[in-house]
């Protein structure tokens, strides 16, 4: 077992890892930038090392400073958390060269899964469905027509060189294909100097479903059920839950088996997450694999009753995985991310938490590094706390989350708490009728209701 673990992260996940280490009896080293001097991970770790100034590139992303910090404190392993260097294969390699343990998958796995095309190829190889589409750029209109007919409309055209929506066109009917292809190619040429376009099946309102997987170096490869993370804003998850209201036992079985095949194919070690899009007909498609612990891992922990971060540490130290596939889930768990942000514009809202009262009681878990009078620095992400509620079923989990959100008090900064208070009361959310377009439609419904309400109503 590791003698001392350095945590190459900050915020709630650093504290989460400290919890796991404390419970395993392993001393911890916190690292921090000068902006995080007053952070709880510094207070609660056994040792701490200041590694640099506020900008992440010079502190939390500074490989040399992290390795030096491990060396001067005698730490023999590093837990990267999520974000920062968690999916940096080079960092994992450097640690190996320095004889420091890495609490994560092997660097070659990180590299393989970090390459979208290679990851897609790997998934296809072991029979994990990917979104059907062209292999590389389209050659001519005829090929595009044949392919689109084969996979069915709507399809999406994407600039091969692109990103950010430019050169992107959704085509609903064959009649529009030619025009749209021309437009997309023109846009792509203008934007990226490369008019190459590829075509993919377009899912109108898919769900974002991810499968938690785990492997060890002794060949174990398991899945621990799914999380539904469809409620997103600009690809940032806001609410996550497990199980998904959309999965039948049979579908869970199929998606879990696909995820396990992929893990076996790459000899996956440690915790990972395989993200899928799920369409309304139960078709699911591999999107990507995250080769680290996820922000939303607590919802899985709450339903299966196991500590994933402890398992990460044990497995990284060479122990056999102590969990089995298809572990019996109990009840339902939902997580809300409480971000320090403007509730209207979503702009970050750093500052001092003049009042912080966290809800408690049965079925309520709060993962946070915040405390009353803590100053949220402007340099890092805006996550202040994760509020996770567990109930015997989804209705109870929602009721509990509602009362917990209602009893949460955060003053001094603006947060997403009020948005969550509205979401948990939304009939569409309560019905479990989710998709990646949920939040957009939620705001539209709210705007309509405000518009429809007679002037006098608020009196």
């Amino acid at each position: 077992m590791f003698r001392k673990i350095l945590i190459a992260n900050r915020g709630e996940i650093a504290l989460r890892i400290i919890h796991a280490c404390r419970e395993l009896g392993i001393p911890t080293v916190a690292v921090y930038s000068t902006a995080d001097r007053d952070s709880l991970h510094v207070t609660y770790a056994d040792e701490d090392v200041c590694i640099g100034p506020p900008p992440s590139a010079q502190s939390y992303l500074n490989i040399s400073a992290l390795v030096s910090a491990a060396e001067i404190t005698g730490a023999d392993a590093i837990h990267p958390g999520y974000g920062f260097l968690a999916e940096n294969a080079q960092f994992a390699e450097v640690l190996g060269e320095c004889n420091l343990g890495w609490i994560g998958p092997r660097p070659e796995t990180i590299r393989l899964m970090g390459d979208k095309a290679a990851a897609r190829e790997t998934a296809k190889r072991c029979g994990v469905p990917v979104l059907p589409g062209s292999e590389g750029a389209l050659t001519d209109l005829g090929a595009a027509r044949r392919l689109a007919a084969e996979i069915g409309y709507p399809v999406i055209l994407k600039a091969a060189a692109g990103g950010g929506g430019r050169g992107m066109r959704i085509v609903h009917h064959e009649g529009d294909l030619e025009t749209q292809l021309t437009t997309a190619a023109n846009e792509a040429t203008k934007a990226f100097g490369d008019g190459a376009i590829y075509l993919e099946k377009y899912l109108v309102s898919p769900r974002h479903i991810e499968i938690q997987v785990f492997g060890d170096r002794h060949g174990a490869a398991i899945h621990l059920g799914e999380r539904e993370c469809s409620i997103q804003r600009r690809h940032q998850k806001l609410v996550e839950e497990s199980p998904s209201p959309a999965l039948t036992p049979a579908l869970r079985e199929r998606m879990g088996a696909a995820a396990v095949r992929l893990c076996e194919e790459v000899g996956y070690e440690n915790a990972g997450t395989i993200e899928f899009l799920l369409d309304a007909d139960g078709g699911f498609y591999f999107m990507e694999m995250n080769t680290r612990i996820q922000v939303e891992h607590p919802v899985t922990e709450m339903v299966i009753g196991a500590d994933l971060v402890k398992q990460q540490i044990l497995v990284a130290a060479g122990e056999r995985l102590a969990l089995a596939s298809g572990l019996q889930a109990r009840g339902h768990a939902i997580e809300c991310r409480i971000n320090a942000e403007d509730p209207e514009t979503f702009a970050p809202s750093p500052g001092r938490l003049t009042t912080l009262h966290l809800p408690g009681g049965l079925g309520v878990r709060v993962d946070t590094h915040a405390y009353q009078d803590y100053v949220i620095p402007p340099h890092y992400d805006s996550l202040v706390a994760k509020l996770i509620c567990h109930g015997s079923d989804r209705a109870e989990a929602i009721a509990r989350l509602t009362r917990a959100l209602d009893f949460l008090v955060v003053e001094g900064v603006r947060t997403s708490a009020d948005l969550h208070r509205r979401i948990v009361r939304d009939p569409v959310f309560i019905a479990g009728d989710l998709s990646t377009r949920y939040l957009e439609q939620f705001f539209e419904r709210e705007a309509q209701e405000r518009g429809a309400a007679p002037e006098g109503e608020s009196l």
Binding site: D406, F407, V409, E411, R414, R421, R450, E455, L459
Partner: protein
């Protein structure tokens, strides 16, 4: 607990900033100021709400338990229902402006079907009668404000 001056300041601020609403709920004290009916914004920037369920009442200013400081309060010794008169048809025990003597019955507070006569604990003039007839009152709630004589 906010002072009268602080509440006035808050009202000015709510008005000046054009806020829709301000709620302060803390330690047994509640203040709610309904400002101008704003068109679209859902939450005021500095609104403080300990519990979220959207209240539909629109109160101008409600500041509980803030009787005028220069009056002597006669408070309710029990939880119950305040009655200004001995029976629905009868005249009230006292009216604003009446001079009362220590021991004089001022009202009835009914609790568990028992009619409890509440007496003046000092001589004075009735300046304020706080509860409405048949209104529930709590323990310690001011019923009358006397100017002592």
């Amino acid at each position: 607990m906010l002072t009268f001056e602080q509440i006035k300041e808050l009202i000015e601020l709510v008005a000046a900033r054009g806020l829709e609403e301000l709620q302060v709920e803390r330690s047994g004290f509640r203040l709610r100021i309904g400002g101008r009916s704003a068109p679209a914004a859902t939450s005021a920037p500095s609104a403080v709400a300990l519990s979220a369920p959207p209240a539909v009442e629109a109160v101008a200013v409600t500041a509980e338990s803030a009787p005028a400081p220069d009056l002597h309060p006669v408070t309710s010794p029990i939880v119950g229902t305040f009655y200004a008169a001995p029976s629905p048809d009868a005249e009230p025990f006292v009216r604003v402006g009446d001079r009362v003597r220590k021991g004089q019955v001022l009202c009835i507070v009914e609790a568990m079907k028992l009619m409890n006569e509440i007496e003046a604990d000092a001589d004075g003039e009735i300046v304020e009668i706080y509860p409405r007839n048949a209104q529930p009152v709590e323990f310690g709630e001011p019923l009358f404000g006397l100017r002592l004589t």
